[in-house]
């Protein structure tokens, strides 16, 4: 699917997620720490948005607020016109590490959120997502027998299995080695193209952002405000040595305050 098609599809399906004047302050009184300051963002259905920013700026806090784990101290998060007030299986957060249940097999993990389905439906759903994240042959393996990349794929599969509208990914490949990370990037892109979910993806990795995202949101240092939003107007598959790619990459590096040369 080309980007042009994605854009028409996205705009056709309309707006999915809306952040309005989002504020977050930790603590009270003199010791209070403002973390998010007037964050406004609209994300359309099926869009892939990456969030980058200096470390400790509040990216994870933003994700936790959007997922409903933390109540914002000001402003609202709206999904399909409904205000978010707590965690919900329609939007799943994927953690950087230690997110899978170590006492369950691959099948058990993927089926974790499917208790309401009939036995047959559950079996089919599990089989589909085992295939989608390429864990065939490991259905009965426990997480302790899987590599770091496989565990993250398992977490993504468990999230997708409950059919969520939105996936929040909190640096999901941050704990992986370079080669695995690049492979996982490709896998995630492939899954996103076939499964068509709205994805909000927090990352430290500029290349990851430019390769995956439709748009990249740049946050300022704490308290985080939206500093800029870059639209990545390159067709998939993206050529990572094309002039436009390098131009966008440089622009992002400049945005987060990194020099061209070391």
């Amino acid at each position: 699917m080309s980007l042009a098609e994605v854009i028409t599809k996205s705009s056709g399906d309309g707006q999915k997620l809306k952040l309005e004047h989002l504020h977050m302050v930790y603590g009270q009184g003199a010791e209070s720490v403002p973390v998010l300051e007037d964050v406004n963002l609209e994300v359309s259905d099926g869009e892939f948005v990456c969030i980058v920013g200096p470390s400790g700026c509040g990216k994870s806090t933003l994700l936790n607020v959007m997922a409903g784990f933390l109540p914002a101290t000001g402003g609202t998060v709206t999904i399909d016109g409904e205000v978010v007030s707590g965690p919900d299986s329609r939007r799943i957060l994927v953690f950087q590490e230690r997110g899978v249940f170590p006492w369950l097999t691959v099948e058990g993990n993927i089926g974790f959120g499917l208790a309401k389905l009939s036995r047959e439906e559950r079996r089919q759903r599990i089989a589909h997502y085992v295939q989608a994240v390429r864990l065939q042959g490991f259905e009965h393996a426990y997480p302790s027998d899987l590599s770091g990349g496989m565990k993250q794929r398992l977490q993504v599969a468990r999230a997708l299995a409950v059919n969520p509208d939105i996936l929040y990914l909190d640096e999901p490949f941050g704990a992986l080695d370079f080669v695995t990370r690049v492979i996982m990037r490709g896998e995630l892109h492939r899954i996103w193209q076939t499964e068509r979910r709205t994805i909000l993806f927090v990352t430290h990795d500029i290349d990851e952002a430019v390769q995956l995202a439709d748009r990249v949101v740049v946050l300022s240092s704490r308290p985080a405000r939206i500093q800029d939003i870059l639209t990545i107007d390159i067709h998939h598959p993206r050529n990572i040595s094309s002039p436009r790619y390098l131009e966008l990459r440089d622009e992002l590096l400049k945005q987060i305050g990194l020099a061209y040369e070391i």
């Binding site: 997922a67 784990f69 965690p87 919900d88 299986s89 799943i92 957060l93 953690f95 590490e97 230690r98 997110g99 249940f101 170590p102 006492w103 369950l104 974790f112 959120g113 426990y142 997480p143 302790s144 409950v162």
Partner: protein, 260 residues
């Protein structure tokens, strides 16, 4: 032999057997050389064990001790596991109850013997009560710490999939805390076995503890005293091995670093 080298098959059996044989030899010759009339030699202990088995006394005593441990320990598991899970789950309740638990915990179960006799008289019940007390605290403590050390990611993941509080406890908190709970059960069972012997020396007239004290009191039969002690050791080891075998189940194996 350096500690990193993997011992060969025959060495793994040979050296422990050798150590045991050496200890028996030391014991045997110490008795002979000192010419003691009171302390028995390994051979007379062996004869004592055979004699006890022939009179069917030993089986009855072993059965009584094991029954008391099973009842006391079982009751402790039934009461302490849900209580510990609840206290770990609710830090506010834990703050209220914890000081009381911490004061009661260091009291040796042996110190409870007079109280147990006042409550339950003489017989099976005080012994079972003491085993219950001895097992109760280690299990509660293990459950509380197991629950409070469940990684926040796993709790969040459980909530994310829309689990209600009781389901979260059943499907996430309990399985996540289970390895630590099992460690608590193992410690508790070890203490229960120590305590049942002590309790049987005072509160009842059967069981391995009673056998030890009775053999001494009725004619200073130290061969039977040591025979009973050996049986206590062997059964304690068997109990430990059997409860450790639970750790090998796949759904808890992840929590034990050395088991693979």
């Amino acid at each position: 032999m350096n500690s990193l080298a993997k011992p060969r098959m025959w060495e793994r059996f040979f050296w422990p057997v050798f150590a045991a044989a050496a200890l028996l030899a030391l014991w045997h010759y110490s008795v002979r050389w000192t010419g003691t009339k009171v302390f028995p030699s390994p051979l007379s202990v062996e004869k004592g064990i055979v004699q006890l088995f022939h009179k069917h006394l030993l089986w009855a005593d072993i059965g009584d001790s094991l029954r008391r441990v099973a009842l006391g320990f079982g009751a402790a598991v039934i009461v302490a596991v849900p209580l510990g899970l609840f206290l770990g789950w609710s830090p506010t309740t834990n703050q209220v109850v914890n000081p009381v638990l911490q004061i009661l915990r260091p009291i040796s179960p042996i110190a409870w013997i007079p109280v147990a006799i006042i409550f339950f008289g003489v017989g099976d019940h005080p012994a079972i009560f003491l085993v219950f007390l001895a097992s109760f605290f280690p299990i509660v403590v293990a459950c509380v710490s197991g629950v409070s050390s469940v990684p926040p990611n796993l709790r969040s993941a459980g909530r994310n999939f829309g689990l209600s509080a009781p389901r979260l406890l059943m499907r996430v908190i309990f399985p996540a805390a289970l390895p630590q709970i099992l460690v608590g059960l193992r410690i508790a069972l070890g203490i229960a076995w120590l305590v049942v012997v002590a309790a049987e020396m005072i509160a009842v007239d059967s069981g391995l503890g009673y056998l030890v004290i009775d053999s001494r009191n009725s004619g200073k039969r130290y061969d039977l005293v040591v025979a009973a002690m050996l049986m206590i050791g062997i059964i304690g080891l068997a109990l430990d091995i059997s409860i450790r075998s639970i750790e090998r189940f796949k759904s808890v194996r992840w929590g034990f670093r050395n088991a693979s």
